[in-house]
Subunit: 339 residues, 4 copies
């Protein structure tokens, strides 16, 4: 359980890294939306591995096949199902991991929860590869939001502690790879054009909804909205967003709340940041244990692994944000244009 | 919508700051648990206003009346309903707020969402006072978790940027009050003794569940688990939690993940931190607008307000954590001892 | 668990027959609806006991107190909470039932599920009295639906096998009472004016939604839509509802489907029937067992009990129908008029 | 929306009659259950068309391909996804139906709900073909329930009003086919060995749960439990199920309640009946309208259609029952044996 997101828009993700395939079922997506397959491909490409020197050499077509939910290229109101075949798998790399859990992977807690039949191969259902179906749902949602004037855009603002330039970030990644190590980073996401008055108080606030979607991406360690943790260090007089009228619309002069107050959108850009931990799969030798013998063991993870997944995570964060916002709009009965 | 949390344990919170009362319905709480009313009172006291020089002078009994769900002092399996009467209200303080929204309160987005019949008085359903019923549910959940060896404990680790000593934090609060201003802070929460293998991948991970509950507390601006944002600055070799065997149990040598990997508990302490923004109600004059005339206005918020709600938020964070963890245990069919 | 209904409109019912009270929390009810308290009282009166010679002499005010969710007599968008105090309880009547379960009451399965701390007194959470809070939610929903041209009306069509006249039905009830026995009956409900195109396929069809609400009423043993079981005996050419155009609107010439096809409304009246079993509480001696000694026992149920609850069930069926239909409309983002 | 069933076991069905395929995602199925593919095939065969002279000549392999959720033939705890390719489609048969809705099909309400992009071809997402993925989920659930001593078995008890013998029922079907007409019928389902004390009061009772699943099968017009509508005609003294002790176990002497009281199982066999309407697709000419011109039209439905789908519906009812009962067991944390 746990692989379904949403109330009105339900996104159900399935698949394991080395099963026959991975995919998604999207129930509740509005009818009559023309699917932009080029935009979808482009979006999927941003997440795909092996696109630059920094990322894993595993290269896959990752082209989704749509099984249902479309009619003549338009969404038809029925659940949209899409699958991606797993073709380039090398399960040999992962042999034996079931007895010696990889540090900071889900191997061990999954063994305790699911027992010995858990599919450990390549991370199974916990693999970062499962973000590909998330991106299918995200691309469709982003397309529909765009038609309604809502634009979502995320970017890397920090890698391995470096915030200066893209070249510096690349250098940090290269240095980590050279040492068989890895680095993490921070992604910031902004949704512009989101209407005021959407969301709910308490447990269905936009923060709760976005957080629930974003923590569905592996390696996410937190989330903060607006000024986030920095807000805790300011005075109320500094942090409060004063109101003003601009072009006949009520807006705030600052946007320290990142577009959400009381769980409800203010009409200002929605802004949040997400820290990603360094890739747990590293070539360096690590301490682990043998579950069967309960003895200490060493483990060095071979296989093909990104020293940094943060850049590839950018579209995943956009996808999670888009799904959460579209679900909130649908729940509020917001009148969405489909064309 | 939005005021119900949970899947197996459903916590439904109702009330407005100046309505007849506030309260909670808890559906799914196990039968046969003796309610410790002293512990409940003590827990509620930690959240109650007016307990020290730093907090608002509004003083209320806040003693919940249990309407249902108990039989001879034990939970009986039926939904537990409890209400707290609102007695000490001074709605006069809040007159006119519906036309001039208070900066960083939910007034304006709530007006857009709910229209002119929204109850603005004292913050209505968005008031921090609504954390009192959350604490009722939290106290019962904490009591049951304790019987099962799980202890939840939160504390203030930062106020107004100060992390040094309690006296220093108090000084920061006093300084803010003296200037008609307010400060925020950070709360850290630890759950010890939580069993390994509980939770779910993707959207029902323990992080998603805890985040969903915690963002139900007003003024929360983010959440991070384990090292959180700091993890993004470390190498994988530094951040990975190596396994070892200790007293016949598999544990990690470090706990940088804060007890959760892949959404599932590792058996290590669950650790997270939550930033609270400075109280938005400040005596200092602020810029706002008149919604009816669409003209700029000044607003100075009278009434009784805490210059810092962080200390009172500590039990609220514990409550949110307890509810989330108990719900996860119940969903996993974990065999809970009721005595 | 189990006492919450709905997706967008969430109706959470609490209380036990002999606890301090019973009540309801309604989350998601639209803001800005003026509550018609007279209509509410009148509606509650139809369900209340002791209104005629046929029903139980237990007489209660059953006037709900609204704790929250209203502002100046209008719904304000916050959860609506209402409680009814239990005043006229005679728990002495029920002593010992926990060891000797009453046939066809929930005593025994509830004992197995909840253990000895289950509140058996007066049926506890399983009592027919819990339909009072259902009727509060129903009355508010009916009021809002009416403003949108949707009228819900149920009536008794059969009691104790008698379908002829109200006098004949009364005679059947009187005969049963005279013998310390009870009778059941059938209620038919019609919703007129419900718009076409509302509902969902498969598991969220209007039938599924209405059935889920209606089975929340104790003593319901089934449900059928349109011709129901009779449809199974017809030819397709007899049962199919042919289309025609009437006053510029597409309608069906017959309404054998009771206004729902494929889970979605057709614009024709929604029609369904619900059988109620005879009241299980009868004065006649019955066979039961002692749970503690596992020996056969006789039981004769004293206390005050209706020989027939079917007439009082009529508003309950209307309430369940109204809640289900309003929830479906809200989920579909239907633009409801609040005035 | 609407194509996902369940709380702990979530069954998400997708596909249209003439799309690339149909399928199911099952999230929450326990880990470590060996899949009996022979039993699955056999179960699917019972539902498949073209198996006898009475049913539609459309013949399809209907062999599901498992995309995920299995590891070495065992369930692994990850969502189980299976698809069935649509191979034998003849969409030409259905041309023009979008403008002239077929009586008693979902064409017209679906057009109103989803607009012109709805996939009408072959019934789209509303087709009876969508019960094939339901049966995949059902077969797996039935297999797991069997390992726990729970056996589910449904059978036809009435076709076209005939209850006497299978030959008589066949004769009724043949007569209908000869006239280009169709007949309906009634299916009875029994679940034996289901433990006592499972289920919930009010809206999550076993009746609500089973009804919600069963109404997911097209053509279902009602449901009744135990004696159902007949119960409404009995006296309480006739209908009440007296308790007794049998082989050291508390049982009821009769089972008029069909194994469920107060929404909770009694330990007696769960019994319910479901009426199916006659197949709406008939060769006989019918009255309909042109949606574009709003004029009356005649329609005669060609294509391949069963004159009676009741026999093929039997495994679908078993599947719906199994899914509902397994979900209830999982929600109650019942300790299921996987071997």
């Amino acid at each position: 359980m746990g692989s379904i997101y949403g109330n009105k828009l339900k996104v159900s993700i399935f698949g394991q890294s080395h099963a026959a395939g991975i995919g998604v079922v999207i129930d509740g997506f509005p009818s009559g939306v023309k699917v932009d397959f080029d935009a979808l491909t482009e979006f999927m490409e941003r997440r795909a591995p092996g696109r630059n020197a920094q990322s894993t050499p595993r290269r896959e077509a990752d082209a989704p096949e749509f099984i249902s939910g479309l009619s003549d290229g338009y969404t038809c109101g029925a659940p949209i199902a899409a699958i991606i075949r797993n073709t380039n798998t090398r399960s040999g790399d992962y042999n034996g991991f079931s007895d010696i859990p990889r540090p900071s992977h889900a191997d061990y807690p999954a063994l305790v929860k699911y027992g010995p039949h858990n599919d450990f191969s390549g991370g199974g259902h916990f693999s970062g590869r499962l973000t590909a179906p998330l991106c299918i749902a995200g691309a469709l949602s982003i397309g529909l939001l765009k038609k309604n004037g809502i634009n979502i855009s995320a970017r890397v603002i920090e890698i391995g502690g470096v915030t200066t330039s893209e070249e510096d970030m690349t250098a940090v990644i290269d240095a980590a790879r050279a040492e068989g190590d890895s680095v993490g980073g921070v992604v910031e996401c902004v949704a512009e054009g989101f209407p005021c008055g959407i969301g709910d108080p308490m447990f269905a606030g936009l923060e709760n909804r976005i957080a629930s979607a974003v923590f569905g991406i592996p390696a996410v360690r937190g989330i903060e909205f607006g000024l986030g943790f920095e807000a805790a260090r300011l005075r109320g007089s500094e942090h409060n967003d004063a109101y003003t009228v601009e072009d006949g619309v009520i807006r705030t002069k600052t946007n320290n709340h990142g577009g959400i107050i009381g769980g409800i959108s203010t009409g200002m850009p929605i802004v949040f940041r997400v820290p990603f931990k360094p890739t747990p799969s590293i070539a360096k030798e690590q301490d682990s244990v043998s579950v069967s013998s309960m003895e200490d063991r060493k483990i060095a993870i071979k296989g093909r692994h990104d020293p940094c997944i943060v850049r590839r995570a950018v579209p995943c964060v956009e996808a999670a944000c888009a799904i959460a916002l579209l679900d909130a709009l649908l729940e509020d009965g917001y009148d969405l244009k489909t064309e």
